[in-house]
Symmetry: C2
Subunit: 461 residues, 2 copies
């Protein structure tokens, strides 16, 4: 599949990363001479973070091309994402030029400021022109708001789900869609708090991330309040909560004047709060935290973690073949490492066990076989640690069956760094076939044994 | 230490749990005959969730008493937390009655609706009366906003930090303090979105938890925007972002009428979204996710995770003694379990290794010893799995040194469930003393060997 990315800033770069890392070829057009560098930086970050979310490999990365014209970028592609500056004339000019070069791809706009009807009014592209509003970092946050003609939003939703995103189709077009309405409300209130000297930027951030931000990462607003309302139900809660809205709590009835004084104060407070880290360092900190939170939610099967789990299930399973056969193909996630940054000893054991599971499934000693009361038990593993393994490294495990006869099975696993083929660790594993009823060793079923003997011969040769 | 909890609803119960699980004795006064049941339910949840945040035990749980009068509750306590209904006369009456029964404890109010000057005006308790506004679930979320006389907020901040909380002292008293100002702004905007049929409660929650909620759980508002602003700096970003505030994006200039129709619609949408789970199930889901997110952030050393790590360091370290000696005392966290809810095999290895580290430190083969180029290496472990181990179980590891002579050291670990003493797993571990330079076995230093021989004698006897 091929995508065109029009506009190569932080958002365009994030889109490019989402597509590329999910195996799409991407053509980027941006007249900015810095576009290639900027997108390269976003890609760097995304390659470090996104693959860590999965226990398997993503598709092989697609091809990235920077092209010299909009027309070249969009010709023949399956999807077009526009992230040019928020100027209506510029955007409408882009859509007009697309018309002649590509007659059917859905065009998504990253705009937060315009509605689809404003973007496409009177243009021939209007029936396939939608808002597809993502959230930074685009390569990690699942949410993308879709607004526009339903044929086009449905098509886009399917494509974007394939990138591991969570398309939220908005029922009616309104300024700022949904999420930015909420963000805007908070932003305005926060400006008043700084303006009035009630809190600094750091204190406001603390009020969010030490408190309700932790709730919102998983449940949002209404489900959280539903809990607060208790068994009385949500309608009861709203009736109780309602009167508070009439209290003179807020200055939101107005917008604070962005005087030089206020702007400078915010700048200085933010420097005091975060200035010790560069933007690049902050980005990596953010991404590490997002990976950690998303993996935690994935383990719980909740919220955004569910989106990732679903996406992972849709990725092609490893089909082991050859001698040796590849049984594991993945990136080492940050939660597999110790405080010193090396892969934790216990995770090697997990890796060999995962690799053996792949072999077992391959020879037919799978879940159904276990359900029949038969299985292989590991009775010995000897691991050799050859080099340090770090978070973010792409590794493959190559497995050979070195013995497979009767009740006995021996596997030899090598975990290699994919970039240079270096063997990082190996494991000799002895397994014995057992009856789960008697808990004693016994002979495997004939068809399983036949496959094992064939594999052992192949790997022995 | 002793605390009085006045008002025993969800918030009062959360406070009671924070204090009790950190070793404080707690006296609760609430005339509601249901108070004991309600607090019991909150305590249930908290005992399930809070200990999972730590890799060591919390202090022994304090004593909980339900008493028949306010005066009995506050007599002799070190801290008083008031969480009675949001009625100014009721609250002021409570503070007046405290005066005679307790003359020096700081009085914290959980109020979100009143300022300290309103609460304490003209009362003798006003110099020790503060707002201490927590966030639900109080036993998991670190944030507590403190407002009031600085002598009292300073004292409260110290106490509350000892409970693993994050006290945020607000610089000026304003209605709704800080966080609820932001929450209120979002709530109002969300009501408009539902009112206008733009989004359902479920869609609004998705817009939060699939997107910016994930950012806010770790960085908050300003640091996130600082990144969006790039190297231009925060002041530059505000100047650019500013004009958007003038756009006609929001209906916030008014408060939506809470008509029966709107209230019912919210109730029905919320039922459709979350009605399949009871409030109790939702609470547990929320708590599991919060534990997962908080542990993920703790591993990264970031945001609320840093608060937990700091608190953990302040807890008393395990001082092993006796035969056998207790080397591990902790709760099994949910991220140590497989999809089937049992403790993952690799975590047993981690537990034995942690237990051996405690023995090593005890005999002087500690980090300084390793820095000298000497260490014990594990050459064999034989684990026996005796019963399933589940998340949330409080376990202790008892370790015996079964051999300790020359280069050789044998340990025998038993992991027991604390509630009934059942042995869940055991491990025989053989370690050999090595030189980290030659990578060969060698004799330990005499003082370490002497301690080992003494311990082996004691444990053998």
């Amino acid at each position: 599949m091929r995508a065109a990315i029009l506009g190569g800033g932080v958002i365009g770069g994030g889109w490019a990363a989402r597509f590329l890392l999910n195996g799409w070829d991407v053509a980027v057009f941006d007249p900015d001479p810095e576009a290639e560098r900027k997108i390269g930086e976003v890609l760097d970050n995304s390659r470090r973070a996104l693959p860590m979310l999965y226990e398997t490999r993503l598709p092989a990365e697609g091809q990235l091309r920077f092209v010299d014209s909009l027309e070249e970028a969009v010709t023949g592609v399956d999807y077009i994402q526009e992230s040019v500056p928020e100027t209506i004339d510029l955007k409408r000019n882009v859509y007009g030029r697309i018309e002649a070069a590509n007659r059917d791809a859905v065009i998504g706009s990253s705009t937060s400021g315009f509605k689809p009807s404003e973007l496409g009014e009177g243009l021939e592209t209007s029936d396939r022109l939608i808002v597809a509003h993502p959230f930074n970092p685009v390569y990690l946050l699942p949410l993308v708001e879709l607004v526009g003609p339903s044929v086009a939003t449905d098509k886009a939703a399917g494509l974007l789900r394939g990138l591991g995103m969570y398309p939220l189709t908005v029922r009616a077009e309104i300024d700022a869609h949904i999420a930015d309405r909420l963000l805007e409300a908070v932003w305005r209130e926060a400006l008043w708090l700084v303006n009035d000297g009630v809190a600094t930027t750091e204190e406001i951030d603390a009020a969010i991330r030490m408190g309700f931000g932790l709730r919102w990462a998983q449940m949002g607003l209404f489900e959280t309040y539903r809990i607060a309302g208790g068994e009385g139900g949500m309608a009861h809660f709203v009736r109780q909560f309602g009167p508070a809205l009439k209290w003179p709590w807020t200055k939101l009835m107005d917008v604070p004047e962005l005087s030089d004084d206020l702007v400078d104060r915010i700048g200085q407070q933010s420097d005091a709060q975060s200035g010790a880290l560069s933007i690049r360092e902050l980005e990596r900190l953010r991404d590490r935290n997002l990976v950690a939170i998303l993996r935690a939610l994935k383990r719980e099967g909740s919220a955004a973690g569910q989106v990732i789990a679903d996406h992972e299930r849709s990725l092609p399973a490893i089909a082991p073949s050859g001698a040796p056969m590849v049984t594991i193909d993945r990136v080492i996630p940050s939660d597999w490492t110790d405080y010193n940054g090396h892969m934790n000893e216990s995770r090697y054991g997990q890796l060999w066990s995962d690799a053996a599971d792949v072999v077992m499934a391959h020879v037919g000693a799978d879940e159904a076989y276990v359900a029949k009361g038969l299985s292989y038990f590991t009775v010995e593993t000897v691991t050799t640690f050859l080099a340090e393994t770090h978070a973010g490294e792409h590794v493959q495990c190559e497995t050979r069956m070195t013995e497979g006869a009767g009740k006995k099975l021996r596997l030899f696993h090598e975990m290699k760094r994919v970039s240079d083929g270096e063997v990082l660790a190996s494991c000799a594993q002895l397994l014995i076939h057992v009856s789960l009823e008697t808990r004693r060793s016994c002979a495997p079923e004939p068809d399983v044994l036949a496959r094992i003997e064939a594999l052992a011969r192949e790997h022995g040769a």
